[in-house]
Subunit: 553 residues, 2 copies
Amino acid sequence: MPARPQLDAQWSKRRTEKNRRLDLVRHMANGAVLPTGDIVAVLEALIAPGDRVVLEGNNQKQADFLSRSLAQVNPAKVNQLHLIMPSVSRPEHLDLFERGIARKLDFAYAGAQSLRISQFLKDGLLEVGAIHTYIELYARLYVDLTPNVVLVAGFKADRQGNLYTGSSTEDTPALVEAAAFRDGIVIAQVNEIVDDPADLPRVDIPGSWIDFVVQADKPFFLEPLFTRDPRLIKPVHVLMAMMAIRGVYERHQVQSLNHGIGFNTAAIELILPTYGEKLGLKGKICKNWTLNPHPTLIPAIETGWVESVHCFGGELGMENYVAARPDVFFTGKDGSMRSNRAFCQLAGQYAVDLFIGSTLQMDGLGNSSTVTRGRLAGFGGAPNMGHDPRGRRHASPAWLDLIETDDPLARGKKLVVQMVETFQGGGQPTIVETLDAVEVGRESGMPIAPVMIYGDDVTHVLTEEGIAYLYKARSLEERKAMLAAVAGVTPIGMTHDPANTAHLRQEGLIALPEDMGVNRSEATRSLLAAKSVADLVTWSDGLYEPPAKFRSW
Amino acid sequence: MPARPQLDAQWSKRRTEKNRRLDLVRHMANGAVLPTGDIVAVLEALIAPGDRVVLEGNNQKQADFLSRSLAQVNPAKVNQLHLIMPSVSRPEHLDLFERGIARKLDFAYAGAQSLRISQFLKDGLLEVGAIHTYIELYARLYVDLTPNVVLVAGFKADRQGNLYTGSSTEDTPALVEAAAFRDGIVIAQVNEIVDDPADLPRVDIPGSWIDFVVQADKPFFLEPLFTRDPRLIKPVHVLMAMMAIRGVYERHQVQSLNHGIGFNTAAIELILPTYGEKLGLKGKICKNWTLNPHPTLIPAIETGWVESVHCFGGELGMENYVAARPDVFFTGKDGSMRSNRAFCQLAGQYAVDLFIGSTLQMDGLGNSSTVTRGRLAGFGGAPNMGHDPRGRRHASPAWLDLIETDDPLARGKKLVVQMVETFQGGGQPTIVETLDAVEVGRESGMPIAPVMIYGDDVTHVLTEEGIAYLYKARSLEERKAMLAAVAGVTPIGMTHDPANTAHLRQEGLIALPEDMGVNRSEATRSLLAAKSVADLVTWSDGLYEPPAKFRSW
């Protein structure tokens, strides 16, 4: 062997640095418990300029006591942070950039803050590393984005730091593990600290992974992101839902699936017990779900359609209902739900037949994005679930049904359905010539255009006009023609020659409602198993407790 | 709303059944602790015919006390089990089928047992659900394969069932969670039970997820699967490793990567400190790894090439070395490694630039399989890491470097490299006209041929002849020609017209060693930073303690 080079003796710089920081705050802490009132000073001691900091903003659960406290640190002491956040959702998340505490952002989703991110980017207050899909962001925590500090939220902790997350476990385990096992610092805010470990309903994250817990000034904020009021479901949603059931779910025997947010998919959930029942499909389709606990799924659960639901996160108001249906939902020994976004995204990627989603803009090839001019909304889980997972090797009837060749090496395909009305409210076409994302990406200096779902991953486009079976397209030209044929009077739809419709229908490349046996006149709100939030409460035997803003009946 | 149908009052059948079974064995247990000697009777009580049972056979760690005990149950009481196993690796795993205790198998990998699985399948003793990639199998545990019983292995437990897995955490958390949170039964065998929870080095899995722990009759078996003796590395491996470094890693600026098992990749690891150093590549390539703790990576770590390694599992003998390098490896507060196959596979899928692997057979389009006649070896992690993850949205230099168009919506690509000698030992060609897998799949009635990595996912094929840059192919014909040009004198190589070579080289579609500045005469064993296992021990300052079978120096 060659002469052994002089080795660097320091193989534990991270551990030394962590211990140095912990020593700075030990006098303020009582073991693993930090005093609520000192949190700003503690953060100033534990976080160094330029640190990679994971701040738990999720779809639902927000470590908001910690984010509000971080926004109060002295920017002369703590600055230039590289924030890593699954979901940027609270005003103080952006205040961190305005105050110069944070500089760079890697994230997956931004809802209400998407306009402000876009503005800050333009103003040079913020630098975007990349927009990710959730599990891609977690994955990088174990490779090139290992965090120095992780700030998360739980429901209860004991004095050893054992953490009970309640039903919104969500992203927490994936975020904590990356720091806990690479000498990062983990701080969890909790609503309550119990003296006796036996008073924790269960342990979701062991205390040996957590450095400090701190009781928040008020319970963490939960966003009821997946609650859709059935009163806002229109007949066109019902028509599209009928087409989804007949033209996609029944046709391909879709047994496992994911639904996104939206009135379209809420309509599907609400007509399973009526329209689906009439078609005799119960037990044949839609059995295993990866899904947040959508209130609109209650009637389908109550009527026996649903064998299992694994959840990304919780949903405010659904706690008691979920706990009362353990055969369907994943719950712990204590009875409350365990959600887990990492595993649910994995399940939604590799183990389900179908993803069905919606978008703000789609082009003539089926590429879509929620990034539009002035809005950097991010992608969330859509890219992960809205593509054909090419590492999949097990078959299912739906997956096999999409094989279109005799090639002995042919494999099946995941169903990726885009379900969109051709026009948005306000008369904006959904189906456009060019995505705004192309221009936004160029202007912002992104290395690639921020596309949410790529057209070549989309197998079906479903509009109020009909379904384009894109997976059957034999050429790019044919693909365009099929999509245009169901694009209504949008700019893309106007490129369609109506004389070609009969041919496309005959070839089975597109289907109109009548081709699937869907009767337009049946498409009314009377098909909805629940027409209001109040109806959902009734279906749940009073177990579902809707948040105040949905209690308007 | 429609008249509410009569609801089934039973929403907790799984919990009731679990409690019924637990009650049968409580008198044998001391709280959560089962007596070692009664384990067969306990398994007969806790497992019912037809149950879905996850049995932890991993790449390394084996719940072998539990598998040996399960093989001893009375088949009249326990039979027709549906076994779900990441890795089928021990003789008793197959004995379960021979004795009629198990009937159906869903798995990801089978090493030493691949011949017997194939034989049992033929004999009708065993039915294969599907062959999976690891995280696909975990994913199904949360959708359509939720287990009734999960049998796992840990290092130590306390009397509340809190589990310390040691450095081979591997698949355990992903397997346990699926049962713990859906009223399945979880039993963990451990090497030692401690009375005082404080005597656990750390908690990897909380006791509230575990129903019973049992002290095994002897420590669980660990398979040193990733140890390669440098003495068996031949000059041809060194030549191929030089090409990989110059023609792939340097060329595309590969900073994060995964290496599989094999002498080819071991050679790459061992020439980084010599050949890579001479080329001035340190700090520019190969910084972040997703990898088992390969002993052959020690010299590269010691010379400062490696920033981080996240591990799927542990490797026997590497425990002390890993613990002494916490800046590089993921370790807990107790100092020992934390591996996690689910997260490492996620990282290897979504967060690294490159996967490089090998195979037993590859066809002229680059499709490959380890399933050959009479051998059902399974896929392990290869399909997951050996494809372009189409949900990825962040860029890296290597990923962007594979874009070949001006399309404004173009995205980058993961590098998927197949590194194979054109012939196997014994004169069998590696590159063949048709994969055995096609025939095996047909004969076994599989719904699709058991392909490990699909040709259209492969971006580079590297043989001792040169590199085919398949991602540049503009047509299927060109792709075939490129692969044939580096296929030597295999049947596929013989289809290559040597007159075409100059053209392919000129177009940059293939490269021979001289095209990459690789000097064949330098390709000797003297480039290896360690030439034996003893050398690796020396590099490690005596921290690496090779298993007995590698101590032959």
